[in-house]
Point group: C2
Amino acid sequence: MVRPRSATAAAPAARPSLVDGAYEALKDAIRNNIFPPGYQGSEQEIALQLGMSRTPVHEAIIRLQEEGLVRVLSRRGVVVCAISPEDMREIYEVIVALEAAAAELIAEKPEAQRGLVAAELDAVNAAMAAALARDDLVGWAEADGRFHQLLVQRSGNARLARMFATIMDQSHRARMLTVRLRPKPSLSVEEHHGIAEAIRCGDAAAAHHRAKTHRVRARDQLLPLLTQLGMRHL
Amino acid sequence: MVRPRSATAAAPAARPSLVDGAYEALKDAIRNNIFPPGYQGSEQEIALQLGMSRTPVHEAIIRLQEEGLVRVLSRRGVVVCAISPEDMREIYEVIVALEAAAAELIAEKPEAQRGLVAAELDAVNAAMAAALARDDLVGWAEADGRFHQLLVQRSGNARLARMFATIMDQSHRARMLTVRLRPKPSLSVEEHHGIAEAIRCGDAAAAHHRAKTHRVRARDQLLPLLTQLGMRHL
DNA sequence: TCACGCATTCTTCCATGCAAGCTGGAGTTT
DNA sequence: AAACTCCAGCTTGCATGGAAGAATGCGTGA
């Protein structure tokens, strides 16, 4: 039955389903290390824990597998993916590419829009600086995350933003693990400001370059920590 | 039950399942316009056509929805996503970002690896030039696709390659539609060679720039064609 | 003591049944 | 004639049962 429809129209506020609930709950459990990497469980067991039948759990796990968070071994259970330093290298390469592109895209927008976004970024950056000033590392990490999320969300590219969110989900555990270990990220405030400033000026090349070098520096701080922390543990 | 396992180990050659079959069949049908954009059907109907029950079809559709090829409207059927020029802009922005990053990554590898990849790229490029010389547009498109696929696959980043494949799946129909309409892509051979050359020399910045401008040029040829062809039809 | 074979058990995979929701049209009213 | 209500049919959401495969542990043999 062919009946054309507007397929690009916005979703009509999908009602919550058990699948969505299971998906969110599982993702949260993985992000917060309630299901640590390497954890292996059965759908039945998870379904029981969530108070639903196996079906919605199974479908949620398909989505999580598609995003690279878990892997289902045929007839042997589902296992939470571990992240090796090698994985982390891949993840950072993708982050660098997407975020630099996002910064560039924003810098190419008309001045009015650029200025608005730059102001938003500066505001988040100020909150980050404040958290850093009072040695609130968790607050810093939260504001830092908001800054980078804002950067890709204001790029005007929903696909790019979605891909970014997916890859950030994959790396969330590693970031949380190392946030207390690495040296105080005092340079980040400055670098963020540089990105916002390049955007304000409409200098796309500079925005790209600064976003890139900022992430590369962060990666170069984080990767050695992970390697010396034990190869494949997170 | 917590029983740690090697979660990063390679997949043990998963046996084909009905879900995989349905997934591939549906993706193929969408790519080849057997299910045109806007097509709306029921899972039951598709299941009957594929000779299986609704369950594997339902799960395959979840995967396709995750990749942005279809959208399931709750209790109203599943509809094949149309691609607007606006979508195409987003898609090309992502392609540019990923492919430029891939070229850059390859150019940063040791000389031996770089040379090998450059040779592979040149070989595909030669095939492309040959197809162009005999006015074989379909052959050209096929070789062109291989070139770009090779570029991201040799980046050494599986996540990047997977994201690229996903976004290329989304844009496949539009490319096939316009391949006969746009002017003869004679510049592409030259530009591909430039990319391979920059990789051979290990000039990461040049590789990035050339890969980027190549795709931007292609986009600037394609987008106007799509807009004048009718807004939301593909 | 060690190795091998077998059966039990646990797991996903897939089919199917039931329920709830959306759509479209018939029938009625104004 | 227009609009409104209600019902029938079709759709997915979810639960559950049966089947097949994989791993584990036990028993048996040397």
